[in-house]
């Protein structure tokens, strides 16, 4: 059975100029200990579809789906209190801006212990022990002392490690990483990606990697979904996507990579195909 199963997900936002469809009929499945990458440019609906699965969208959003199930239980049909027991515990998410996603008013220790208190019901001593353990597993040096630090006392890479530790606190079955390394330097990016891949194999988690960086996809994913304008354009395993992309859009995206440049100008996507040609062959 698939860990997360989404069928025909549609997300619409109510705007002053009528409803805007951000996600248009996306279906996907993630299995246990599988790394699925969702690639697309800004506005392709890749983050919105995952926020919809987490139930984190504002009230202006209208989420409909034929199926949005975690381990066979439909998340849209269950009561909100049941859903909250799954979100944050069995499905965890890390975000793009590590410093912005931590609360600046509390120590990182407080923030990780909060998760352990609410979802695991551990007592004070057990929480602290587990927090130190988690900090160690994500490679934060001197964890016991670091628990008393505030987010602004740590670097971006360290904050992202704290975020990962918080996400892993309840041994989630599925981790959603929304552009986890976009705000970080290349060398730190490498460390964080290596850490995520190591933990993913250790805990046999499902991992959804949302990114716009083709290099990150190539380095991490088993399977890839390409999105454009809210639609799923292509789904393939990572090797065949890079070796023989099926859709126009994926081909255009790959040829726009500077490292694939031939000659002294880059082919741009709008030169190669118009919008309709890009949407053609969208895998529904």
């Amino acid at each position: 059975m698939a860990l997360l199963e989404i069928e025909n997900l549609v997300v619409e936002f109510q705007t002053a100029s009528g409803p805007f469809r951000a996600v248009d009929g996306v279906s996907l499945k993630v299995h246990e200990s599988e790394v699925l990458a969702i690639v697309g440019e800004s506005g392709s609906g890749k983050s919105v579809s995952m926020l919809a699965a987490m139930g984190l969208l504002p009230w202006t959003a209208r989420v409909t789906a034929d199926k949005l199930a975690f381990k066979g239980r439909d998340l849209l049909k269950m009561p909100a209190s049941d859903r909250r027991k799954i979100i944050g515990k069995d499905i965890a998410m890390i975000f793009q801006e590590p410093i912005a996603s931590l609360n600046p008013c509390f120590t990182v220790g407080f923030q990780i212990e909060e998760v352990l208190r609410i979802h695991m019901g551990l007592d004070r001593a057990a929480r602290r022990k587990r927090a130190i353990e988690l900090f160690e597993s994500v490679g934060i040096p001197d964890p016991a002392e670091r628990l008393g630090h505030f987010p602004h006392q740590m670097s971006g890479g360290q904050c992202q490690r704290v975020m990962i530790a918080i996400a892993l606190a309840c041994n989630p079955k599925l981790l959603i990483a929304d552009e986890p390394t976009t705000a970080l330097d290349v060398t730190i990016q490498k460390q964080i990606l290596d850490l995520l891949m190591k933990l993913q194999q250790e805990y046999r988690m499902g991992l959804i990697m949302i990114t716009h960086n083709m290099g990150v996809v190539a380095e991490t994913a088993d399977r890839v979904i390409v999105q454009y304008k809210g639609r799923k354009i292509e789904e393939a395993d990572v090797l065949s996507l890079f070796e023989s992309p099926k859709s126009n859009y994926t081909r255009a995206l790959l040829s726009a990579l500077p490292e694939n440049a031939t000659g002294d100008r880059l082919p741009t996507i709008s030169e190669l195909f118009n919008e309709q040609q890009m949407l053609d062959g969208a895998a529904r």
Binding site: E41, D185, V186, T187, G215, A218, L239, L253, R265, L266
Partner: protein, 275 residues
């Protein structure tokens, strides 16, 4: 032949004043950096955050003075700490920042944004200012109808085009590009890089391209300088640096850059299956 830009042993220290709890100290952001750039060429400066590459960009753009060392632009020595900055020098060097959302005034129309450098630095009459702004809009791939719009009405790529247009209004010789494409999507990044290449050919512009994205650097640069903790640890032509990196940090940087070619994906999958 004189170089458009020459730096000799540039040093920049920032002094952090002390207080009751902390002693005064100084941070050495740049520890003696030298390089030259010729007309129509691109020097890429690579390094991670905090390595001093933006400090160097500010010194070249004549925003901050250097603590020590010499900066020569067009063969003329510039020292803004002592002599101040003339309008003529300001016309020669312009900068484009990383974040096009932050570098444009949200209350100004595009036309006013483009005309402002002319108002400050030249005595161009209003009619001519308008004409030149219109011409520049078209040059960077925008249209005349965009003249009266505000920055929030544009996408990230279009805003970066506006920032490029503003920088070119004074016909500079040297353009400092501080991570100009790192906030942009892949397809938009390709368009902006092409635009920069076109403009460089047309106006014989010299670029100092600050970036941490090695694939972009490899594509656009003639020379590459790798910085690490305020020092230039590696400096040479693009091909020399990429084919034979000498310093350990450069090697680390290359190893950390994600690869998107089929061979490295195959290698990774093989490693994973073996584990």
């Amino acid at each position: 032949m004189t170089h458009v830009l020459e730096a000799r042993n540039l040093v920049r220290d920032y002094h952090i004043p002390g207080n009751l709890f902390r002693q005064a100290r100084s941070v050495h952001a740049l520890k003696g950096v030298s390089f030259t750039v010729d007309e129509g060429k691109t020097l890429a400066i690579v390094g991670e955050s905090g390595c001093g590459k933006s400090t160097l960009g500010r010194i070249i753009t004549l925003i901050d003075p250097a603590t020590a060392g010499e900066l020569l632009i067009d063969g003329r020595k510039v020292d803004i700490a002592r002599e101040g900055l003339t309008a003529e020098m300001r016309r020669k060097v312009q900068i484009i920042f990383q974040n096009p959302y932050g570098s444009l005034n949200p209350r100004q129309k595009i036309g006013d944004i483009l005309a402002e450098p002319l108002i400050i630095n030249t005595k161009t009459p209003a009619g001519e200012r308008r004409e030149r702004a219109m011409a520049m809009l078209k040059k960077v791939g925008l249209e005349e109808k965009h003249y009266n719009r505000y920055p929030h009405m544009f996408s990230g790529g279009q805003r970066q085009r506006i920032a490029i247009a503003r920088a070119l209004m004074l016909n500079p010789k040297l353009l400092v590009l501080d991570e100009p494409v790192s906030a942009l999507d892949l397809s938009v990044q390709a368009q902006v890089l092409n635009l920069l290449a076109d403009l460089q050919d047309e106006f014989k512009l010299t670029y100092v391209f600050i970036s941490h994205d090695l694939s972009v650097v490899r594509y656009i640069a003639d020379d590459v300088m790798v910085m690490y903790y305020g020092e230039a640890v590696e400096y040479g032509s693009r091909d020399a640096v990429f084919s034979d990196p000498r310093h350990d940090y450069t090697k680390t940087l290359f190893a950390a850059t994600p690869r998107a070619d089929v061979a490295s994906i195959k290698a990774r999958l093989a490693r994973k299956n073996a584990a």
